[in-house]
């Protein structure tokens, strides 16, 4: 417990306040361009938020959930766990953005939008009702649209922003319609309240079922899962690379945070109402299979590294969906959910790092395709090693913690009786190994047609990549810091 209770939302508050501070800084002197100050403030803010979240998490502030505003906001260990994910991703991304933005105008807006989006995500992870969920979702989404379209002279960026926005708007509409249907069936928007209503069953199973499916659609949009994933490849490819990193890591995690909380708290699988309306674990299983297959297969034949990472991100959404699909009520529920959370944590670092490497490549202007990456290993060995770590960790090789988290997920699937899902995952994982190692092959094995000329080594971007790499590797032996926390946090949801 923590006094006062609102202090439990400190990570979100710190982020929001930092955004406001940036507003202030920017409005004091809008014309001057002081990137170091802006990124510095943003970095300090996100670091502070991460520190708070970490301390909260590891000291167990959320072990007995803090309920605020009549249950509209809930801060428990899972919330804090996700706060750590969001803030740490933000920290790394902000650090990397410093060099990437270089002398680009509107830098203050960039950081502000990003911090506001993080605030939205933090709210998503803490939402105790569907109303808050929707508001938070929009708070996270709207700045993201702008961020993706940030390079407004760049056709790719604009096109990506447009597609992201249009699909996002459509998905929001579906989501909110789903909320309205759930409300129609239960008469409340509070998650606990919904669960209470469903214990006895519901008079309108069809309406509830359609509503739930539409809610899942909203989650699918946020997590870039099928069939709401169509925006993702374009948005990730077109957006500035740090933004891609941010959206594909933090935003995805936020979507899952919301999905975990809503589905588990409001729609317990065992309750009669859910049984009549919709067994969402089956939906999750279907979506998991489709999503990971689609993502990995489409990634396998890409020529553009960034787009490959985009599809791989879809594939990873599929893996985490395994966690939802396996909550069938058999076996140790907290195991599989905790595995999903751990995977999102690790994914936050390795995926962010990978996108930041792409950012570095864009910064160096070496090109976008696999071929154009060839020979970078000799030119820039440090970051190439880091990229190798990211790729192999994403592929689930024990060079990074992605290995543990992925296999935890597969173990969770077996635990839930869904061994076939694990086997589908196996096929996908092997395929993913193929395309991830294409990057590694380009870096280390392929001979370049003409050697790259690299003139400068941007320190902050380098630093961000190295930090991401070190954490990715360090989490392999160091996962003991988080695994118990994750499983306990997951267990709280089922208690």
């Amino acid at each position: 417990m923590i006094e006062p209770a609102w202090a439990a939302t400190a990570p979100a508050l710190v982020v929001a306040v930092t955004a406001l501070v940036l507003f202030l800084v920017d409005s004091i002197d809008p014309e001057s361009n002081r990137p170091a100050l802006l990124s510095g403030v943003a970095l300090v803010g996100s670091l502070a938020a991460m520190g708070v979240a970490l301390v909260y998490l590891l000291t167990g502030v959320g072990e007995s959930p803090v309920s605020l505003y009549g249950g509209q906001l809930v801060v428990d260990q899972m919330t804090l766990f996700f706060h750590v994910i969001f803030t740490s991703v933000t920290t790394v991304v902000v650090l990397g953005s410093h060099d990437y933005l270089d002398s680009h105008p509107y830098q203050a807006e960039y950081y502000i939008l990003m911090l506001l989006a993080v605030t939205g995500m933090a709210m998503m992870a803490a939402s105790g009702s569907l109303a808050v969920a929707f508001v938070a979702l929009e708070l996270a989404s709207l700045p993201s649209y702008a961020l993706v379209a940030f390079m407004k002279q760049n056709r790719g960026s604009v096109e990506a922003g447009l597609k992201y926005f249009l699909i996002g708007a459509l998905s929001s509409a579906v989501f909110v319609f789903g909320i309205s249907l759930v409300y129609a069936a239960t008469g409340t928007l509070l998650l606990d309240g919904i669960a209470d209503q469903l214990v006895e069953g519901t008079a309108l199973p069809g309406v509830l079922g359609v509503g739930m499916l539409m809610l899942i659609g909203g989650f699918a949009y946020k997590t870039a899962s099928a069939p709401f994933h169509f925006w993702a490849p374009e948005a990730y490819e077109g957006a500035p690379a740090p933004v891609s990193a941010f959206i594909s890591s933090a935003s995805k995690a936020a979507g899952f945070a919301l999905a975990f909380r809503v589905l588990i708290t409001a729609f317990p699988v065992a309750s009669a109402g859910v049984q009549n309306a919709l067994d969402w674990t089956v939906v999750a299983a279907v979506l998991a299979v489709v999503t990971m297959t689609l993502g990995n297969f489409a990634a396998a034949t890409q020529e553009n590294v960034k787009r490959m990472l985009a599809y791989s991100s879809i594939g990873h959404a599929g893996y985490v969906l395994i966690a939802l699909a396996s909550l069938t009520g058999t076996g140790d529920q907290s195991l599989v959910l905790g595995a999903g959370m751990i995977h999102l944590l690790v994914y936050g670092f390795m995926n962010t790092g990978a996108f930041l490497f792409v950012a570095l490549a864009e910064y160096w202007d070496v090109g976008r395709t696999f071929e154009e990456y060839s020979g970078l290993g000799t030119q820039a060995p440090f970051v190439s090693v880091a990229m190798t770590v990211f790729m192999f960790s994403l592929a689930g090789l024990p060079i990074g913690a992605g290995f543990l988290s992925k296999y935890y997920l597969f173990a969770g699937a077996v635990n839930g009786g869904l061994w076939w899902l694990a086997l589908v995952g196996a096929v996908n994982s092997a395929l993913s190994l193929f395309y991830y190692s294409r990057v590694v092959k380009a870096l280390w094995i392929d001979e370049p047609d003409e050697p790259h000329t690299i003139e400068s080594y941007p320190a902050a971007l380098y630093g961000a990549i190295v930090v991401a790499a070190v954490v990715t590797v360090g989490l392999l032996p160091g996962l003991f810091l988080f695994d118990g926390v994750a499983f306990d946090a997951a267990a709280v949801l089922f208690s």
């Binding site: 709207l142 379209a149 604009v158 096109e159 447009l162 459509l170 929001s172 409300y183 928007l189 374009e234």
Partner: protein, 101 residues
């Protein structure tokens, strides 16, 4: 309770589908936006109607939030459509296809 609540449901679904139809058929970005507004409003109909049906205010209050967010969404949307027009000299959503496959 003059009108049975199911009718609202049917009505809102209809509105939702009309909006969806607009989304799928309209190529002009502004029409796309409007259609999405229609879909959001379909949800609002439900919320308000069932708020009345269930006898609590949650739905009605939430519909206010929805409207506000819809407005915010439009704001962002218009901004993006503006830069779209600057880059592609068109507000046709199908014209921007440089990123694909």
């Amino acid at each position: 309770m003059a009108v049975p609540v199911q009718y609202y449901l049917v009505f809102s679904t209809l509105v939702f589908c009309i909006g969806l139809f607009g989304v799928l058929t309209r190529r002009n970005a502004l029409f796309f936006l409007m259609s999405v507004e229609l879909m959001l409003n379909a949800a609002n109909i439900n919320l308000v109607a069932f708020s009345f049906y269930h006898g609590n205010l949650t739905g009605q209050v939430f519909s206010l939030f929805t409207m506000a967010l819809a407005a915010a969404e439009v704001a962002i949307g218009i901004g993006i459509i503006l830069v779209l027009y600057r880059n592609f000299a068109d507000v046709d959503v199908t014209s921007a296809t440089t990123l694909r496959w």
